[in-house]
């Protein structure tokens, strides 16, 4: 009898344990205590003399955060929706110290939580049971990567992947014709350009740069090396972005005028027909703005030789080295680079490239950056247009680079995947894809560097981050318009220097802790304030905080 009772008790205990396991929090056990909202947190610059745009970020109550700016920023909302400004629990940031576990296992509020990252192979996401929004269609999402476009397409055709990124232009017709696949064009605004660094001869001579601008047949490049939907760039910024195309259109192709300009500039043809020699630097990495870098480099090499008598050596560089050297203005020849929009504002294109502090094209031109500085604090699009027209005209006149193309690119998915899309800004949300089965497999072109995206810049890292970590605002699926994500609304004062964001109530992080205003402040402070103990990250650069907000608070002096 006693034995039976004991057995029943044990059975009850086991049953209770199983029930608890099934109904309890799905996230990992939390080795840190949740801190309830009591004292509001804030981060503030001592003064606006540090040069950045943000004066302070402060929680004013549990569900309100106030951003005070040093100067108006018409792109504030668009920037705040960007993935690097994702929100993680204050407790988790403190627990990890801004690095270590944080780089591999982000804790966010998104529809998926990261459950495994097997380095070199895949990242596994599991649907977050307590997600505040609509539950994802697939219970599990697996992110894999393959650097070769042919291998990605093969996976899709074999059915081992549900969606892949960055189709090779040559593969587009095949995918279009395949009834088992669907083609999804990527609408992210971008530009491919040929850059010069004006601290190196002969590119210190504006006439040489102008001559090359006139002597390159950009239409020929777009017609022969870009997929349908691409267009020749009339301006650096795509016209889909307000004020992107203010001012005069770029030079038409005119080889005779270009040669006359080179003759007059003191670069006559030699006996062998060559005026001077240079190098064309590029990286062999697929991007929407430059889908076939090697072939375009050879085409430009051929055009320079045939049209202008400039002999160029093609130099392919390792990607990281190329970015480091080109963006620091260390390449003596021509470099082939491009830009994909991070957020839908003209400042994202012009201010970054032609601002006073960017050494990429050598010595910055005040004719360009002074107009940009003035325009960047004007919220009204029409009022800012004359200034952007001036800036674009100065770019055309001084030719720090030649805008070549706005490239079209495409991803592909199985026809059976419903809801497949590629947004113009940000990454595809796995939660919106329905593969018609429990597991979604998404293959991108490289492994993420880390999953703490406050300190990452590459799209391959930002994509997985976006599945797990949410921002205050989000971009639309087919436009750059922002809407509330963790904030229900963000409103500004009359001169757009104070933004007050009201947060969504009842949101829970993957670790089970409740979301509040202090989490927002802690997440922003970790990236924005160089003196914050959690300002560690992967590289410690926090590039997007520094670049989009014009500098870090308490940045160490160089």
């Amino acid at each position: 009898m006693r034995g039976n009772t004991l057995l029943k008790l044990l059975s009850l205990l086991v049953l209770a344990g199983l029930l608890l396991a099934a109904c309890g929090p799905t996230g990992p056990a939390r080795p840190y205590e949740e801190i309830d909202y009591e004292e509001p947190l804030s981060v503030a610059a001592a003064s606006c003399d540090y040069g950045g745009k943000i004066s302070s970020v402060a929680a004013t109550d549990r569900l309100t955060v106030v951003f005070t700016l040093c100067k108006p920023d018409p792109a504030f909302l668009a920037k705040a929706a960007f993935t690097p400004f994702g929100i993680q629990p204050r407790e988790y940031l403190d627990y990890t110290g801004g690095s270590g576990l944080l780089l591999e296992a982000p804790v966010g509020t998104g529809p998926y939580q990261v459950t495994e990252w097997e380095r070199g192979d895949h990242v596994t996401f599991t649907a977050f049971a307590d997600y505040w929004g609509a539950a994802p269609a697939a219970q599990t999402a697996v992110l894999r990567w393959s650097t070769e476009g042919a291998a990605r397409l093969l996976e899709l055709q074999a059915g081992t992947a549900d969606m892949i990124t960055n189709l090779s232009p040559a593969d587009i017709p095949g995918v279009e014709a395949d009834p088992n696949l669907q083609l999804i064009f990527n609408l992210n605004p971008n530009v491919f350009y040929v850059g010069f660094t004006n601290t190196f001869a002969p590119f210190d001579n504006a006439d040489v740069r102008r001559a090359i601008a006139m002597g390159l047949d950009r239409q020929r490049i777009v017609d022969n090396f870009y997929p349908p939907g691409s267009e020749v760039a009339s301006h650096f910024t795509p016209c889909s972005i307000p004020n992107g195309c203010a001012g005069d259109a770029w030079y038409d192709f005119d080889a005779d005028a270009a040669n006359a300009l080179l003759d007059a500039a003191g670069f006559p043809r030699g006996d062998d027909g060559v005026r001077f020699t240079t190098s064309i630097y590029y990286r062999d990495v697929f991007r929407g703005y430059l889908p076939e870098p090697g072939n375009v480099a050879v085409e430009i090499q051929s055009q320079l030789r045939d049209n202008l008598g400039i002999e160029a050596e093609v130099v392919v560089m390792e990607s990281g080295e190329f970015i480091a050297q080109s963006t620091n203005g260390a390449l003596s020849g021509i470099h082939l680079l491009g830009w994909g929009a991070d957020y839908p504002h003209v400042t994202n294109f012009l201010d970054f490239h032609f601002g006073s502090g960017n050494p990429q094209f050598g010595n910055a031109h005040p004719e360009i950056y002074e107009a940009l500085q003035e325009a960047s604090s004007i919220g009204d699009v029409a009022a800012a247009e004359p200034l952007y027209a001036d800036a674009n005209n100065a770019i055309k006149d001084l030719v720090p680079m030649i805008p070549v193309a706005h490239g079209a690119s495409a991803d592909a998915a199985l026809a059976s995947v419903s809801g497949a899309y590629v947004p113009p800004f940000g990454a595809t949300q796995f939660a919106f894809l329905d593969p018609g089965k429990d597991t979604l497999v998404f293959v991108q072109n490289a492994e993420p560097i880390s999953l703490y995206c406050a300190d990452e810049t590459d799209g391959e890292s930002l994509r997985p981050c976006q599945q797990a970590v949410e921002t205050l605002l989000e971009y639309g699926q087919d436009s750059g318009d922002t809407s509330g994500e963790l904030a229900t609304a963000c409103t500004s004062n009359a001169d757009s220097t104070v933004w007050t964001c009201t947060l969504r109530d009842g949101v829970t992080f993957h670790d089970g802790s409740a979301f509040d205003a202090n989490d927002v402040v802690a997440s922003w402070a970790a990236g924005l304030d160089a003196a914050n103990p959690n300002h560690v990250g992967n590289t410690g650069g926090f590039d997007y905080f520094a670049y989009l907000w014009d500098g870090l608070i308490n940045a160490p002096s160089e």
Partner: protein, 315 residues
């Protein structure tokens, strides 16, 4: 009683006909594999020499606006049903709208040049080092051969990449790298030959006649050490062509727009499913060239190996 060697009793003309070169050639031409290798090699040399006559287009000239071609166009051969109103491109068009056949033809020049130049350099330096080491012996032998051992301790291809990293990318530096990697092989072969030949009686006789060491080494010993060197060199050319193609495939050898087979393969590696002709033809060209040198090398080894030789008897 002293027996007179059989050869000594032969007339002078017969002796000449049995000279090493003729003997080797005769043995070589008796082997089917070697004949195939030699035929392919001669054909390749002719293709390289007459490339401007054989190739219908300039290898680096794109055909945009010249002919109605499309990017990565498939081969068009009129005899195989390609419409007569379309321009014939028997190996198709590449991503830069260039005729692949013309590039493959000109690529023969690059590959043969790579093979002969690198192995020539390696033989020159390797022979010198091996000969000095073998003949001088002692500390010179130790220093030279230990240095060769150090070079051999690294995987050849990795060493070539390391050397290019230091020298910088490009075909010329790739040639230096491949040559350096191959030097130890030739040094060892020559040293071994010199060690055995220097003990022979005719060397002692030459020395007794008062010849200098340099004269003995370069005029008496080295000419007799050539046979294994030729075999090693022929096989080495095949390896050098492969190594150069691999380096170019990785983007650190020949640079665009040089029509080099490895570069052609590497540039279009992503199109293996959509435009297989762009990797097939350069790949086949590499295979045929390497095969030719390997067949010839094997044949030469057999022809020069006295153990395998069937000395023709005087009739």
């Amino acid at each position: 009683m002293t027996s007179i060697p059989e050869a000594a009793a032969l007339p002078a003309a017969s002796l000449r006909s049995n000279s090493l070169l003729r003997l080797t050639l005769r043995r070589l031409t008796r082997q089917r594999n070697a004949r195939v290798g030699l035929t392919i090699l001669i054909s390749l040399i002719l293709v390289a020499a007459f490339a401007p006559l054989i190739a219908p287009y300039e290898p680096n000239r794109d055909l945009i606006g010249i002919e109605p071609v499309t990017q990565r166009q498939k081969p068009c051969i009129h005899l195989l049903g390609c419409p007569a109103d379309q321009p014939q491109h028997i190996m198709g068009i590449d991503a830069n709208y260039r005729d692949v056949f013309s590039r493959v033809v000109y690529g023969t020049r690059v590959s043969l040049m790579v093979g002969f130049t690198t192995i020539g350099m390696a033989i020159l330096v390797g022979t010198l080092l091996g000969a000095v080491a073998g003949y001088a012996g002692g500390w010179a032998d130790n220093v030279i051969m230990r240095f060769m051992d150090v070079l051999l301790a690294f995987p050849g291809f990795l060493l070539a990449i390391a050397i290019i990293t230091v020298l910088g990318r490009g075909l010329q530096n790739a040639l230096y790298a491949i040559a350096i990697v191959n030097i130890p092989h030739f040094a060892r072969v020559v040293r071994a030959s010199v060690l055995s030949i220097k003990e022979q009686e005719f060397v002692a006789a030459t020395r007794a006649l008062g010849a200098s060491d340099t004269r003995i080494l370069f005029l008496r010993i080295l000419p007799n050490a050539l046979p294994p060197l030729i075999v090693q060199g022929t096989l080495g050319i095949a390896g050098a062509i492969l190594e150069a193609a691999a380096l170019s495939f990785l983007g650190i050898g020949a640079q665009p727009p040089t029509p080099e087979w490895g570069t052609m393969l590497g540039t279009e590696r992503n199109q293996v499913f959509t435009a297989p002709h762009l990797v097939f033809f350069p790949g086949i060209a590499i295979m045929i060239t390497v095969l030719a040198f390997n067949l010839l090398g094997d044949g030469l080894r057999d022809a020069m190996d006295p153990r395998l030789a069937q000395v023709s008897k005087p009739r």
